[in-house]
């Protein structure tokens, strides 16, 4: 009945024998011990459990661990290298894009996906882009400001990197 899975999480390989019904979010939290991915609804409506699956944002409460077999996951713990913060994390800090912090990991990973697809989103594109992630504390304005600030930071860094490469 149980299945063997091999999932790479934040660059580290995790092997386990799991029930086919085990949700990816439970695999991350209970098997891999990464509790930065939160559960807010278990029905893919709140986005607190958002992670990157092969670089794309998915809600890990509606992905089975067996579906992630052989694939690569990035959780909030793995977004930034070592002690540094990712520019999106920095921007959420600087713009007060969080209060209780519960939706924040999912919100940041959702913003990451949005900025991969659209490096300079407009206010409306940001509001639509984070539409799958709920926040009850902020009224969203500071989150929108944070995503804008992150976009500026990432574009600047990309330009600087391009100049350095020239």
């Amino acid at each position: 009945m149980k299945k063997n899975v091999r999932i790479v999480i934040n660059g580290a390989e995790h092997r386990a024998e799991v029930e086919p019904r085990l949700l990816l979010v439970h695999f991350l939290r209970e098997v891999a011990g990464l509790t930065g991915t939160h559960i807010g609804c278990e029905t893919s409506l709140c986005g607190a459990c958002t992670v990157l699956l092969d670089g794309m944002a998915v809600k890990s409460c509606t992905v089975l661990a067996v579906q992630a077999d052989g694939r690569s996951i990035t959780t909030i713990e793995g977004l930034a290298a070592s002690e540094n913060l990712h520019p999106i994390q920095e921007a959420f800090w600087e713009e007060h894009g969080l209060q209780c912090g519960y939706c924040t990991p999912g919100m940041i990973l959702c913003a990451h996906d949005l900025l991969q697809q659209n490096a300079s989103p407009s206010e409306q594109e940001i509001r639509d882009g984070i539409g799958g992630n709920l926040c009850r504390c902020t009224g969203y304005q500071h989150i929108v400001n944070a995503v804008k600030a992150a976009s500026r930071k990432m574009n600047q860094r990309q330009r600087a990197a391009a100049r350095a490469a020239d």
Binding site: E19, R21, L22, R29, G33, L34, T35, G36, T37, H38, I39, G40, C41, E42, T43, L45, C46, A48, T75, I76, E77, A80, L85, Q89, F92, W93, E94, E95, H96, L98, Q99, C100, G101, Y102, C103, T104, P105, I108, E123, Q124, I126, R127, D128, I130, G131, G132, L134, C135, R136, C137, T138, G139, Y140, Q141, H142, I143, V144, N145
Partner: protein, 805 residues
């Protein structure tokens, strides 16, 4: 102008750190996802439990068969009410002369009275097994008549939820001042309106969670809980499970939002620790979102009959109100308190010579109501601000001028209201004026008039609110209204602050550090705020009622002031000066007027610990505790203005502008205040426009998931234009009033006023919330059917009228 949280208006910067936009100390751990909420707690031998809940709103429990569940591999036990005879009742903290408090067992005994009421608990080695086994618990129910509508519940023929009480009425309470009969006799006009304040679900993003670990050898019970009140929870759980209070430790780790819903003691808070004691294993329960919407307290749910007696020039003569409040089936911790707060704040920011208010609490077969962001005050603001708009319209007065006419003048403060409260300080005129300017009020009105002639429905909503905060003087609160703080300057000079005001997203670790940094002339990075652990922190009350800074922060302030006296005494001794001449600033302790005489901060603090040379009578160490008892509440206020356009063909509401001018006294961190205001407005607007906890005729909650219960998304909330006026309170030395609930209180009536204003040419005076397009469209259609369209009808509105006729 402050907008978008960037430019922070006129916040008074009265120190190096206080008043500054300072990044939160909490955030690095939160944005990295490396901190811990309750469900993140892992313990060796941890087992999981799942509650079996009633599918009926009212039924007799004929039998419960747990055999099949028990026999499942991995199941440790299955518990029903018969097994928990020793566990105490779920507490209600309120005492009132005629209050009926039903027995509230943690697991239903013989009868269930709302859908979701816990009936049994399954404990298993893992959560999946517990869920599976919970499905196998067979309960035989005999359904009983269901009581849902609070007006019908009070009728003689209604079924009863408690036979013993002989009524569904939980309490009545009257509040009077002045001569209401004389006011009615003198009045040129009495304006009447009936308002429904619908039931809503707080919906913190983190569901509730409890982990309990009992160690029999040590006789020590540790509880991790997602709570706003760790100390009160500890006291209540100790009583429920029968342990001496010192044996119980409550830890509130990161708490993912509360909004009042975690200011409570729930069935699970008692059952999970009890299970850990019985099994001698750590036990975890985490709420699903479905459970959260069903069995975490709800807010609001009142029917309000209001009458305002007026002179034709707009002078208010009297306010009469009857508020019917749905308690749900049982009282939770503060359920009956909430409508009392409504009654107290009904007079709003107006001079009302005569006041007559009756509130009635009613039992129904629903989940309990209790404190939800604003807790009774949003209902009061909604009542008074809605009827103020109705009155302005009936008297053909401008909504802003009419309000202003009835404001007390700034020189009249402290001002005693019709409900007997003493408002501390305010300048309502200034706030209104600023908001009118920011909104471009005159232009909005001109456009509105022009629009009506073209069949365009523009509306302007005004809400001048006042709220009661910094809860509060202990004499006026059910469980103590003070707050505690211990400040310890460690031998290294670093500072530890222990606060009883355990936060859940408000940012006290930052604001308290800013405050203490200024008092001691050190850097906020050298200050650590500890909260939410009853073993570390002296007894405290918690964070709710916009009290964190105004009461908790004030306790910190006074504790630091005590230490400053101690530092001055020691420094005077060591530097050969008078204590009165000691100056503590910029990381040094020195003597006024003598630059040569000073010591580094670290040296003087270490001297207090080494104690080799101390003045006579000096207690070694550097720690002080203060329990701050406030002399009064504080009364923040402000003006919100909203401009909308309503599409008569679809009932859709377009928010064109939202201006908020709030006054919370002095500001410690303007960025955090903006965050509180924005989040608050979003929640209040969302009640006006989207949210409603709906029960069907059988008492089934049918908004039981986030698919059905409309928590707003980013695109549903507009950008707000924010500004502040600053009127410090005399109630505390920092002059801070509190801001956690302001937005929620002001925005709901502001939004509904705007929509009703837009539709006033159709004769529409009220639409009950939430203002979903369908509901607005129906109101428009009904109005158009009743009254022929105005003379200046355009082809478009005539088309609508034909279609809806």
């Amino acid at each position: 102008m402050a907008s978008n949280g960037k430019n922070n208006g006129k916040a008074k910067a009265n120190g190096q750190w206080v008043g500054k936009r300072f990044k939160r100390k909490e955030d690095p751990r939160l944005v990295r996802g490396i901190s811990h909420y309750t469900d993140d707690i892992k313990l060796p031998r941890l087992v999981h439990c799942v509650f079996v809940r009633s599918p009926h709103a009212h039924a007799r429990i004929a039998s419960i068969n747990t055999e099949a569940a028990r026999s499942q591999p991995g199941v440790l036990t299955v518990i029903t009410s018969a097994d928990i005879e020793g566990l105490g009742m779920i507490p209600c903290a309120m005492q009132m002369p005629d209050l009926k408090i039903p027995a509230h067992p943690a697991l239903a005994k013989g009868r269930v009275r709302y859908v979701g009421e816990p009936v049994a608990v399954v404990v298993a080695e893992d959560a999946y097994t517990a869920r599976d086994a919970a499905e196998m618990v067979a309960v035989d129910y005999e359904p009983l008549p269901v009581v849902l509508d609070i007006e019908k519940a009070l009728q003689k023929e209604s079924a009863l939820i408690y036979q013993d009480f002989g009524t569904n009425k939980a309490f009545t309470h009257a509040m009077k001042s002045g001569d209401i009969e004389a006011a009615y006799k003198k009045a040129d006009r009495v304006v009447k309106v009936r308002l429904i304040n619908q039931r809503v679900a707080p919906t913190a993003m983190e569901p509730r969670s409890v982990v309990a670990e009992y160690l029999p050898g040590e006789n020590r019970l540790t509880i991790w809980a997602s709570t706003q009140i760790p100390h009160l929870l500890r006291t209540q759980v100790a009583i429920m499970v029968g342990l001496p209070e010192p044996a119980v430790r409550v830890i509130a780790p990161e708490v993912g939002g509360g909004f009042g819903s975690k200011l409570n003691v729930y069935a699970e808070d008692g059952v999970v620790p009890w299970l850990s004691m019985k099994l001698a294993r750590p036990v975890k329960w985490t709420e699903t979102r479905r459970e959260s919407l069903m069995v975490t307290i709800h807010g609001r749910d009142t029917i309000n009959y209001l009458e305002l007696a007026l002179k034709k020039d707009g002078t208010i003569l009297g306010l009469r109100a009857k508020v019917l409040a749905d308690m749900g089936a049982y009282h939770q911790l503060l359920t009956p308190l909430i409508p009392q707060l409504t009654a107290l704040m009904l007079p709003g920011c107006y001079k009302i010579p005569a006041f007559d208010c009756e509130i009635v609490g009613v039992f129904t077969n629903k989940m309990s109501t209790d404190a939800y962001r604003g807790a009774g005050r949003p209902e009061a603001a909604y009542d008074i601000e809605r009827i103020m708009d109705c009155a302005a319209r009936e008297l053909n007065l401008d909504a802003a001028k009419f309000r202003s006419k009835n404001f007390p003048q700034p020189r009249e403060f402290p001002f005693t209201t019709a409900a007997g409260l003493l408002y501390d300080s305010a300048n309502y005129q200034q706030s209104l004026k600023r908001a009118l300017q920011l909104a471009g009020y005159d232009k909005l009105r001109a456009r509105q008039k022009a629009g009506w002639k073209q069949g365009k429905y523009y509306g302007v909503g005004v809400s001048t609110y006042v709220e009661i905060c910094a809860i509060g003087p202990s004499a006026a609160t059910p469980a103590g209204g003070w707050e505690s703080a211990t400040v310890r300057i460690e031998p290294t000079g670093k500072v530890t602050v222990l606060t009883g005001a355990s936060p859940h997203g408000q940012g006290q670790e930052t604001t308290f550090a800013q405050l203490v940094a200024d008092q001691l002339g050190i850097n906020p990075d050298d200050i650590t705020i500890i909260h939410g652990d009853t073993l570390a922190v002296p007894y405290g009350i918690g964070t709710f009622g916009s009290r964190g800074t105004a009461v908790g922060g004030t306790a910190v302030y006074y504790a630091v002031e005590k230490l400053k006296i101690k530092i001055a005494a020691l420094a005077a001794h060591l530097l050969g000066a008078k204590p009165a001449d000691i100056v503590i600033a910029h990381g040094r302790v020195g003597v006024k007027g003598n630059a040569k005489k000073s010591m580094p901060w670290g040296e003087i603090i270490l001297a207090a610990y080494t104690a080799r040379s101390i003045p006579a009578g000096f207690e070694p160490g550097m720690e002080a505790t203060h329990f701050f008892e406030p002399s009064n509440f504080t009364f923040p206020f402000g003006t919100h203005i909203c401009a909308v356009e309503v599409d008569p063909e679809t009932g859709e509401i377009k928010i064109e502008k939202y201006v908020a001018v709030d006054d919370c006294g002095n500001v410690i961190n303007p960025m955090l205040v903006d965050g509180q205001v924005q989040g608050g407005i979003a929640q209040g607007l969302s009640q006006a426009l989207y949210e409603e906890m709906v029960y069907n005729e059988d008492g089934q909650p049918i908004t039981g998931s986030l698919m059905d219960y409309a928590v707003p998304k980013a695109a549903h909330i507009p950008e707000f234009i924010l500004d502040r006026t600053v009127t410090p309170t005399p109630v505390n030395p920092m002059g801070v009033k509190g801001v956690g609930e302001a937005g929620t209180i002001a925005s709901t009536p502001c939004m509904v006023n705007a929509v009703c204003d837009a539709l006033s040419p159709l004769g529409i005076t009220n639409i009950d919330m939430p203002l979903k397009p369908e509901r607005v469209w129906r109101a428009i259609a009904a109005a158009q059917a009743a009254v022929p369209p105005p003379a200046a009808t355009t082809a478009k509105s005539a088309r609508t009228a034909r279609r809806t006729a």
